[in-house]
């Protein structure tokens, strides 16, 4: 279907105001581009970008698009690492950037935020209330709360310690593809039992509706203490995590690791001396500092049973900031030296070591590119391990990059299937239709398509993400 871009922009301008509609080439291009290492193709480029100011305008845009069967791709900050942010069909990009209101109600026990609020801004707003924002992606300064809830991403957080972000969501405002605005959930801290649509929309990656407002409970900020431990090899850290769960030890809120290579790069990036091996970076949490200190000391003793090279408790301060920074920056500094192709492997916890060995094996033996290096880091307490194929050049043709990306995705998903995992952080649907078909029964994927058809019969929202288009 050919769309007249100028006519479309004019029509959209009548809904949101002309100053909030763009159809120029640069704007269309930069909204389509994402972190995916391969180039954009023509079908990724939108005809127009629109920035509605309230849910009523979103509804009108969707009604307009529905009548004309024009795809609408929702854009938060575009920071998805796995293709979710790239439109798969030409149409309208709907940017939630104008949804910037924050309302904090301590007397009600919750806060509300517009979908476009950046996580860092929200965390800052919550700080005076000593409230926890339970979402910790590396992209926090620019990622939006709408995107985080639409993906239900845990990122750094250990699920079994803090739960998923969706566990804190009390209700949502959602615009359906038909143009109806619905409210889900409750204003009470007692979350609904039984059939309730909040859980259905959280993590739906924008294929069933557009989240415009989020209500989450004000969870008290815990006291924290940090531990850093160096082990001679990564496998020792994996063994610690497996033993932690086997013994039923209360897990930390953060339990990160850097393998031997990424630890060297990360430590160098923040000005620390080269570590002697792989590094575990841990944050313990508790209601108060006394309990937290006690918990940390017991966890340190547990770590020492695994014979680390070094293990110590760290208070807040420069050294901890540097060590946490080394984890945060390791991926960026590895990328600086070449090209990286990442996986998200989340195995059954007793299979962590097996999954690590398999991940390393497939990355070192890629079919689409000979001789990549293996680098890994991740939220191992969760457990998530990110195995990366690192190639020390950026001079790789786009089609080869695409082939490597897809091979890494497919083979890491095979490991998830083999060891019972399903991801937990990246919002992989746009690249994992084969996984869904292989991991579950045929009825599972068909049910997803049926649900999509029931809510979005003209398939306008994020078209292609459930079909596996690139």
């Amino acid at each position: 279907m050919r769309i007249n871009s100028k006519g479309l922009a004019k029509d959209l301008g009548r809904i949101v105001g002309q100053e909030y509609v763009f159809n120029d080439a640069p704007t269309n291009l930069v909204y389509a581009k994402d972190v995916m290492p391969y180039d954009l193709e023509e079908h990724n480029l939108p005809y127009a970008v629109v920035r509605p100011g309230d849910s009523g305008q979103v509804a009108e845009v969707l009604r307009y698009a529905n009548q004309r069967e024009i795809p609408v791709h929702t854009h938060g900050s575009g920071t998805s690492l796995v293709g979710l942010a790239r439109p798969k069909a030409r149409g309208i990009v709907l940017d939630t950037a104008r949804f910037q209101d924050i309302a904090i109600y301590p007397e009600r026990g919750y806060f509300e935020a517009g979908a476009g609020v950046h996580l860092a801004k929200l965390r800052k707003a919550l700080a005076p209330y000593r409230a926890l924002l339970p979402v910790f992606p590396g992209s926090e300064p620019v990622a939006t709360i709408g995107g985080a809830i639409a993906v239900n991403t845990s990122a750094h957080a250990v699920d079994s310690a803090l739960g998923k972000p969706g566990d804190y969501v009390l209700g949502l405002e959602v615009v359906l593809p038909s143009g109806e605005v619905i409210e889900t959930g409750t204003h009470s801290l007692r979350r609904p039992a039984g059939v309730e649509l909040t859980k259905f929309m959280v993590g739906s990656e924008g294929v069933f509706g557009i989240i415009t407002r989020v209500r989450m409970r004000l969870a008290p900020l815990p006291a924290t203490t940090n531990i850093v431990a160096t082990f001679s090899k990564t496998e020792d850290i994996l063994a610690v995590v497996m033993e932690m769960y086997r013994r039923g030890i209360s897990p930390p809120m953060f339990f990160e690791y850097l393998d031997e290579s990424s630890a060297r790069i990360g430590y160098s990036a923040v000005g620390l001396p080269e570590p002697a091996g792989a590094v575990a970076i841990i944050t313990m949490h508790s209601d108060n500092s006394v309990g937290c200190r006690d918990k940390s000391e017991r966890f340190l003793e547990f770590l020492k049973e695994a014979d680390p090279i070094d293990a110590k408790i760290l208070g807040p301060g420069l050294e901890w900031d540097q060590i946490w920074g080394s984890r945060a920056e390791a991926g960026n500094y590895v990328y600086r030296q070449g090209s990286t192709f990442g996986s998200e492997v989340t195995p059954r916890v007793d299979k962590l070591l097996d999954a690590f060995i398999d991940t390393k094996d497939f990355i070192l033996n890629l079919e689409s590119y000979a001789g990549p290096q293996f680098i890994s880091f991740g939220h191992i307490g969760a457990p998530t391990l990110h195995g990366y194929a690192f190639i020390p050049t950026k001079d790789i043709p786009s089609q080869v990059k695409k082939a490597i990306t897809l091979e890494v995705r497919q083979k890491s998903e095979n490991i998830n299937i083999k060891y019972g995992g399903c991801g937990g952080e990246w919002g992989l649907t746009a690249q994992r239709i084969d996984f869904l078909k292989a991991r579950y029964q045929p009825a599972y994927y068909q049910l997803l398509l049926n649900l999509k058809k029931a809510l979005d019969p003209t398939n306008i929202l994020n078209r292609g993400n459930l079909e596996g288009w690139l």
Binding site: D24, P26, T79, H118, P141, Y333, D395
Partner: protein, 113 residues
């Protein structure tokens, strides 16, 4: 294309290839801020525009000219890029891209191309 221009193009392509599209530089860009948040008028946007112009995906028009010439060369984005590991010489890239693309510039400006 002269040998000098070919070298400049290669150097520009190598530099923009460093951009990971993380978008951390978007919010700090003053022209992004005053444009009510148009990503094309941020450093990330300009890097992508230059890359796609050099690749031949985009053709230079008034909108693209406007995007490239509104950069203030304030280097705030470079601090962010450095802190995120990539350390791209963003302002130099934009400056050199202007020089490289100058023969093709469109007259005028504005984004209503």
């Amino acid at each position: 294309m002269s040998a000098r221009q070919a070298d400049l193009k290669s150097a520009l392509l190598a530099e923009v290839a460093k951009c990971r599209a993380c978008r951390f530089c978007v919010d700090v860009c003053p022209t992004y801020q005053v444009s009510a948040g148009v990503e094309a008028l941020s450093s990330y946007g300009r890097i992508q525009i230059i890359k796609h112009l050099l690749m031949g995906v985009l053709e230079l028009d008034e909108g693209l000219t406007y995007a490239l010439y509104t950069c203030l060369q304030c280097r705030r984005c470079e601090n962010v890029c450095k802190s995120k590991g990539q350390n791209i010489e963003i302002c130099e890239v934009i400056h050199n891209a202007r020089a490289f693309l100058a023969p093709n510039y469109q007259k005028g400006g504005g984004r209503d191309s």
